[in-house]
Assembly symmetry: C2
Homo-oligomer: 453 residues x 2
């Protein structure tokens, strides 16, 4: 079949299976801009509406079951509504969801975090990752007395005003309306995996450089792993120039290993952020790090003349429901870490190898990126022969990627948020890997991804 006929057939199949979702999406359009509350949750022609999620499965309002590879923005390492988490949350719900006052659960979760990540000398909870990275920047400016924040081209640290820069291709443009230039001028963007150019740029701003903030694996930008000494090179530059090195481990913390990416790549950040997994499926952001730096936000017992760095917090920070969900998740991970991490990493490896083989045998030119339980396929073209930065991803064939992901959803009941990386949970199995590889082979054979004639 030629590719456009194949695409039309898949679209029809989706429409037929998702009539109730379509009706709900029409209603959503009159309640929400674009029908959604998160820019990436829309995909054409309309997203299905989830009614139920358990383990590795999503079930939509039309009764379709999908094997989920998006797993709640990659947050659900042990699956949707894991029994140990769900029962803890249910119990806590009757005991109070938002005390407002302090509670012991937040202390227990802090100990659990420190167990995995001993660099978390002191911790502050917020309710989202976007808040955590915003506060990390504020602390870095407070500590150094400098203004400039260096981030990676394509690096994603949430929608906060401080870091919403150079996120989307073609990167040099403003990240949309409403961000004023006077804020933007203090963010400098450097290219991932190009240490020489990065250091050259950093060198021009070193006297006013407050921090370098980096995801150890570029997540939203395309699951791009760091090459050889890139992360160490940045760390060394930061330390040599009295700027802070901030690792954004919101995606990788407790995923790449129980001790995070810092452990895998042997990094020593001054501050780091967590989110997603540590909330056990409930809202959380966490800022952690060096005692002296973190202490700048301590409001207790200061002299009037001593000014602190004010960061949240927030109404819902350290709420007992999130703390319980996070705590039961980390406990489960700790108790089962020798089973879970090798398992999810093995599935990840099988998928990466299998996809590469399936595409290659079908004559489709791809680079499959990832590490451990994270993976993503990028479609190459004559200009882009391999993927090592967000710019490469921007120049790759995004249209093929959308088609591939949509075919997985519509025809094979495997959910990937179109254009985003996949994540394995402890609920997935090697069989799932084989199914995904099979489905990919079928999609390749269907002609959907062949060059248009």
């Amino acid at each position: 079949m030629n590719p456009s006929a194949a695409a039309i057939r898949i679209q029809k199949e989706y429409s037929k299976k998702t009539r109730k979702s379509h009706a709900l999406y029409k209603k959503s359009m009159s309640c929400f801009p674009g029908g959604i509350s998160h820019n990436i949750r829309y995909f054409a022609p309309y997203p299905f509406y989830t009614k139920f999620a358990k383990g590795k499965y999503l079930r939509d309002v039309d009764g379709n079951n999908y094997t989920d590879y998006w797993m709640g923005h990659w947050a659900l390492l042990i699956g949707h509504s894991h029994p140990v988490v769900a029962s803890a949350v249910r119990r806590q719900t009757s005991h109070g969801t938002l005390f407002g006052t302090v509670n012991k659960l937040s202390l227990d979760l802090a100990y659990a975090i420190k167990k995995g990540m001993p660099r978390a000398e002191l911790i502050r909870y917020s309710s989202t990752g976007s808040e955590a990275t915003m506060y990390a920047v504020r602390l870095a400016r407070a500590k150094t007395g400098r203004r400039v924040v260096a981030k990676i081209v394509g690096g994603w640290h949430g929608y906060n005003t401080n870091l919403l820069q150079s996120v989307n291709y073609p990167f040099e443009l403003d990240e949309g309306l409403g961000l004023i230039q006077d804020e933007e001028q203090f963010v400098e963007s450097i290219p991932f995996n190009d240490l020489e150019r990065s250091l050259k740029i950093l060198d021009t701003i070193r006297d006013d450089l407050a921090c370098i903030i980096v995801e150890p694996v570029l997540g939203g930008a395309g699951c791009i792993t760091p090459e050889s000494d890139y992360l160490h090179g940045l760390q060394e530059f930061a330390k040599r120039n009295d700027a802070l090195y901030i690792l954004d481990e919101i995606v990788t913390g407790f995923r790449l290993s129980f001790r995070g990416a810092a452990h895998v790549y042997k990094l020593d950040p001054d501050l780091f952020t967590l989110g997603k997994i540590v909330g056990g499926g409930l809202p959380i952001g966490v800022l952690c790090g060096d005692k002296d730096i973190m202490s700048l936000c301590n409001p207790v017992g200061r002299e009037k003349s001593e000014v602190a760095c004010y960061i949240g917090g927030g109404t819902f920070s350290a709420n007992p429901l999130t703390m319980t969900a996070g705590l039961s998740t980390l406990k489960h991970l700790k108790e089962n870490k020798s089973a879970i991490y090798p398992k999810i990493n093995k599935i990840g490896t099988r998928i990466r190898k299998g996809l590469k083989k399936a595409f290659s045998e079908g004559g489709v030119d791809v680079d499959v990126k990832g590490i451990g339980s994270l993976f993503m396929t990028h479609f190459l073209n004559k200009d882009i022969r391999k993927i090592s930065s967000a710019l490469d991803v921007g120049l790759s064939d995004r249209d093929l990627l959308r088609k591939y992901h949509f075919a997985l959803i519509a025809k094979h009941k495997m959910f990937f948020l179109p254009e985003k990386m996949g994540a394995i949970s402890s609920m997935h199995s090697l069989k799932d890997a084989d199914h995904l590889i099979d489905a990919t082979q079928q999609i390749v054979q269907s002609g959907l991804l062949s060059p248009a004639k």
Copy 2:
């Protein structure tokens, strides 16, 4: 008894009753800067640790029960773990807490919000109020192409970088380390309840004025109600000068009335923010308002050349657990609104009158502020004879306020977050009002609040 002897006695009483909390606080100091995850949750000598919360009660780890007037940062209008909310949350927990994908519950909650607040033509969910106000500012700048944000001196809109200005007395100083001047220059602060001066200041910046953002009742700054035409004066100025008028109803929405403060004060904001109550005790922020303005953040179906205003969202936005909690709360409020609002307002009125009388009869000079179910006592002195702005609050006797609130906690088992306003929930009764007034009389008679000799 002389005041310092009375204070020492109360402190001893608290220490004796809260030994386990004290031990936990010592541990917390080695995990969190200042032992807390929200700056205001600390109070001297250490906060008690809540173990259980139900209805109007908090129970701490030592087994003390407190009647709660803080009610989860004023979020819990129908009490802690209300049965209808708790059972909905428990049920949803088994069906998934974070789909990642879109869901019908977010649509149902949107309809419930629109029912109360029809000005919510379009809605976007975030996970915290601090995010919602940050995004409101971004949308205002996107809509107007201007940069300056006018806020109230003492106005509180969360810890976000855009609005963390002029929050704390003496207001002219920086709000702590880590905020850079280049960001601050685009925030202009105006004095609450002084329309003439406010308009004079606004007039100097009107050509670059993107928005005026205001809490209809100043919450964190001291429960200060608006005088006569202040809010209308600001609204008129904004509309006349093509700036947006943004009402921050995170505290007042669904509290001052089912239709919020906009209804009570007959205001017509372009955008408004919600939080707290609409999350039913789970993390939420909501940005609502005019269709055309909200549509600027719609990422769907734009031409490549058409730039949107990028706002969150966030991983946990519109998660089904928060949506369920919010929905069951608003349903309960709607079904019982003719009982709940008159009741909580009546309790509020009795408290305000009773406190005023109790202090006045005891020769303690106070102003009791508030409206509906919100109230707060301010201790006057020779300079400050009444409270109508955050500056007045800053100059009032905060030390007496701390002593009064702490005595209520330590001796009378009534919890007020020291120095913050009280909030009535539907679980409170007129008897609670009488107990609070009685306790206040006893504190006055104990000599604790008398001038030192």
